[in-house]
Amino acid sequence: MRISTYAMHQTALETLLRQQSTLSRTQEQIATGKRLLSPADDPAAAVHIAELERALAESAQFARNSDMAEARLSLTETALANAGETLQRVRELVVQANTGTMDDDSRALIASEVKELLNELLDIANRKDANGEYLFAGYSTLNQPFVRTAAGIAYVGDQGVRMLQIGPAMRVPDGQSGQRVFVDVPAGNGSFVTAANPGNTGSGVIDAGVIADRTAWVPGDYTLRFTSPTTWEVVDAASTVVASGTYTSGAAIEFNGARVTVTGAPEAGDAFTISRAGSKDMFSMVEDVLAALQAPIDTPADRAQVTTRLGAALTQIDKAIDHLLAVRGEVGSRLSSIERAADARADLDLQITQSLSELRDLDYAEAVSRMNRQLVGLEAAQLSYVRISQLSLFDYL
């Protein structure tokens, strides 16, 4: 084909320019380390990259959320452990005080320590986290949750539990409300609470009792009355006698599936209440102990009263310690589920990073060898252009 001189130069020039532009593109790829310089280079990959990067950013946020939840749950766990230790000490003191040989002075000494322990427990319940938020206040984290009132220590927080998002479809509570931890402790043995009537004149002492037969148990408020020092009867809320019998100190008294034991010598007319268990807060438990320790003991009846109260308190504190352990178990299981979520997240992140790298990152070996090839091509084109453009018939005229 006939070629015009102008077109020959033009074509050669355009080829050179094109080679230069592909070379500069390769150079830019190498300099940035990115395979795609513009979304238009590979639209599908560009969209995928944006999605993967979003997923990574989201995952990083979930990791931060997890850290936050973990930090608070650890604080919660420590607080629960401390509360458990405090109650354990109270329990020891109760056991110590409940021996018959205690005189009033020793009891007063124990009472003052229990008082300190109560303050300690209150402190723990009002602990704050690093942000200055109360740990056990539900949603009302800026207000002190446990306050002293005329009627004792009251919970003024709420029952809210904050959840944090630690995975695309996974949320964990980052704590427990004060209600759940310190207030909602099952009272008595969990089914009923026993107490001696304050007007009792005998030395009868009632224990906390147990449910002997769960199926026969009819929840309700009952009163165990001694019609004489040797006979008893149990009446329900409607004063209907549901059981009666002859009293022997230390023998089991059973009615409606429940079993209680009275020891000592009750007088006729003495009564013990066996009422439905609701919940009881830990502070009032300790306050009960305190009150029992501070009560004067003048008569055997007084001693029986104190012994009954301390015995009930002991059962109660055991319940509270169990309760704290249960709550700690919940917290622990949350911590481990955070850890599992972190493992899953790490796996996913790795996969995403790998896919992202495949889509986005440059294969340097390939790019460098491509650049060399392009360099050779450009040099050859330049050289051949110079040679060819020198050829002219006019040189020979």
């Binding site: 077109a7 979304p39 238009a40 560009a46 979930f62 949603y139 009302s140 984290t141 919940s279």
Partner: protein, 629 residues
């Protein structure tokens, strides 16, 4: 002898001309649009003699331009397509890079905002975390507005390029008409083709074809007519029309293309294709406008989703959440030539039904008619168009006031200008409503195992939303609300009161109480922040199938794909175009070696002809010498 002499002289003259033509070719080796010329030799008819015809030398019949109309037409067609795709691709690349930056793109910015919402959920009482959310909201606003501003910049650039293209096209058309006149006159006067004028005209037509598709038809003796669009005459022989821009009948800030002839002006915006002008118009209507609408729609949906959820929450001060973002309203543009007094108000009523299209609302003889602005597809309207019963279509509520004349039209752009009004309305970090407005409590004295859920707000506008409500169990299977009524209890079934919903499950006992009330002081509550984060990730667009970030990635993907296609088309067209150029150049281009050879050839011939005069002279001298004796 005289014959021999005149024979030689004719040859001398002819070769001189031929050398001149060669010289002209050499001189124009770098002239764009120049077609090489060739002196066409023709032998002069011989004189009859008894010995037969003896030739009488040579003459130049014409100086021919080596040019093929068919090849030229092909070059123009491909030049037009190539320029069209080149312009389209170059603008598309800019758009695609703007939208696609993975560090600053919409998807990344949106995710940062969602992360900041989680940050508030992690520590609802933390003012710094709330401040971060506000800053992220502001960067989201800045990002959207930056994108929108860049798109509007592009629009302005295209607008001014369209205007200058129109001016240039008109100037070229005038030059072509002028050349037509000169060429016609020269051809008539000399009977020979005015090659260099023809080249100039062809060159101008080439330039024109780079700006838009043209059809060239010969007319008169040597004139051509040029038609554009769907057959509108731009040049008719010696007459040229004017291609100009006029403000759009709806939006006076943008131009339409108008061709003005003696018969008046007509809008040919949609008929113009090919070339740089076609590329600009196509980019504007196919990529730029949809991209602005799409970004606007994302901003609208974002605003709606965030505001809706934010208003359902409670802030640190115990007040219900307000609007988080503000957004530009629906643009309604009346046609300049409307004769009625009608006014049209359009609001967005359903985000999930909202589209990325523009619409034209037209008053017909009997009612109103809604069509898509780009395709003209009819859209069904429900309602009466009154404030009480507005027209509803495509997620819009349309209220028509005043009196319209038949034929009056309104352009409705649901999302085009939304981003310009996009703003962050929350200024104070405490106003971020991270908490739910209500909280539920189980009475500590409850004896049963009943538990109450945290509660969900179903109607944030309920006047009694925050009023305390007590649910008390009258028996294990019935409950009263605020001391009245007796409702049957089903564990886990929703209980809806005062715009909220809770579920009680387990086995409550007689006398057990649950209370629901205001969450004032619930500073540590993050329920609404979590719901907000969920809502931001939820499918809210396209009938509840597309989330905000898939809408953003979809936009990036669409623009990138269109760019890729345009680039591929451009590269393919470039090859075809180069091929056609090579074909044309192989016929019309000057080759210096060829001209050098021609030069040698004609020089030698010239020298030979000169030698012939010498021969004639010698012969003559011989004859004279013979007769002198």
């Amino acid at each position: 002898m005289a014959d021999l002499m005149s024979n030689s002289v004719s040859a001398l003259l002819a070769f001189q001309r031929a050398i001149a033509v060669t010289g002209h070719n050499i001189a124009n080796v770098n002239t764009p649009g120049y077609s090489r010329q060739r002196a066409e030799f023709i032998s002069r008819g011989g004189q009859p003699s008894g010995d037969g015809y003896v030739g009488d030398g040579v003459r130049i019949a014409t100086v021919r331009r080596l040019y093929d109309d068919l090849v030229a037409a092909q070059v123009r067609t491909t030049a037009s397509s190539y320029r069209n795709l080149e312009i389209f691709a170059s603008y598309a690349e800019r758009l695609s890079n703007l939208l696609g930056d993975t560090d600053t793109g919409l998807t990344a910015t949106l995710q940062k905002f969602v992360n900041a919402v989680h940050g508030v959920a992690d520590a609802p009482t933390s003012i710094p975390a709330r401040q971060v959310l506000l800053s992220e909201a502001e960067s989201l606003r800045d990002r959207l507005q930056y994108m929108d501003a860049r798109l509007r910049d592009l629009e302005t650039q295209i607008e001014s390029r369209i205007r200058s293209e129109a001016t240039e096209i008109t100037a070229i058309a005038k030059s072509i008409a002028q050349l037509n006149r000169e060429i016609e006159a020269e051809s008539v006067r000399t009977g020979q083709p005015p090659n260099d004028l023809l080249d100039q005209r062809d060159r101008l037509i080439d330039e024109l074809s780079e700006r838009l598709n043209v059809t060239v038809v010969p007319s008169g003796r040597a004139m051509v007519s040029v038609f554009v669009g769907t057959g509108q005459p731009l040049v008719l022989g010696a007459e040229a029309a004017t291609l100009s821009t006029r403000p759009d009948v709806f939006d006076r800030t943008r131009s339409i293309m108008v061709i003005e002839t003696e018969n008046g002006a007509s809008d040919i915006t949609h008929a113009l294709t090919g070339g740089s002008l076609g590329g600009l118009l196509a980019f504007r209507s196919e990529l730029l406008d949809p991209a602005r609408n799409a970004i606007g729609r994302i901003a609208v949906a974002l605003t709606e989703v965030v505001n809706e959820q934010h208003r359902a929450g409670m802030d640190l001060t115990g007040a219900l959440g307000g609007d988080f973002f503000g957004i530009g309203s629906v643009e309604v543009l009346a046609r300049a030539s409307n004769t009625g007094s009608a006014s049209v108000t359009v609001t967005r009523s359903d985000i999930s039904a909202l589209t990325e299209h523009d619409y034209i609302l037209r008053r017909t003889a009997t009612g109103w008619d809604l069509r898509r602005a780009d395709t003209g597809e009819a859209i069904a309207l429900t309602g009466a168009g009154t404030a009480a019963d507005p027209f509803v279509a495509e997620g819009l509520s349309i209220v028509v006031g005043g009196t319209a004349a038949a034929g009056d039209e309104f352009l409705i752009r649901p999302t085009r200008d939304a981003v310009r009004g996009f703003e962050v309305l929350i200024q104070n970090p405490e106003q971020i409503a991270a908490a739910a407005p209500i909280r539920t409590t189980a009475d500590p004295g409850n004896l049963g195992t009943g538990t109450i859920s945290a509660g969900v707000v179903t109607d944030r506008n309920h006047p009694q939303l925050l009023a305390p409500v007590t649910i008390e169990f009258l028996s294990p299977t019935t409950y009263s609300i605020n001391g009245s009524g007796s409702y049957t209890y089903t564990p886990g079934a929703p209980i809806e009161v005062n715009g909220w919903r809770v579920e009680i499950s387990g086995a409550p006992e007689t006398g057990d109480r649950f209370t629901v009330g205001s969450n004032a002081n619930g500073a540590g509550d993050n329920r609404n922040a979590l719901l907000l984060a969920d809502a931001l990730r939820g499918p809210v667009l396209n009938g509840g199938t597309t989330s905000l970030d898939s809408a953003a990635t979809r936009l990036t993907g669409n623009v990138a794909t269109a760019t890729r296609q345009a680039q591929a088309g451009r590269d393919a067209q470039k090859i075809v175009h180069d091929d056609n150029l090579a074909t044309r150049d192989s016929l019309s281009g000057v080759n210096l070696d060829e001209e050098a050879a021609n030069l040698l050839r004609f020089q030698q011939a010239y020298q030979a002809a000169a030698q012939m005069i010498q021969v004639a002279s010698t012969l003559f001298d011989a004859l004279l010498a013979a007769t002198r004796r």
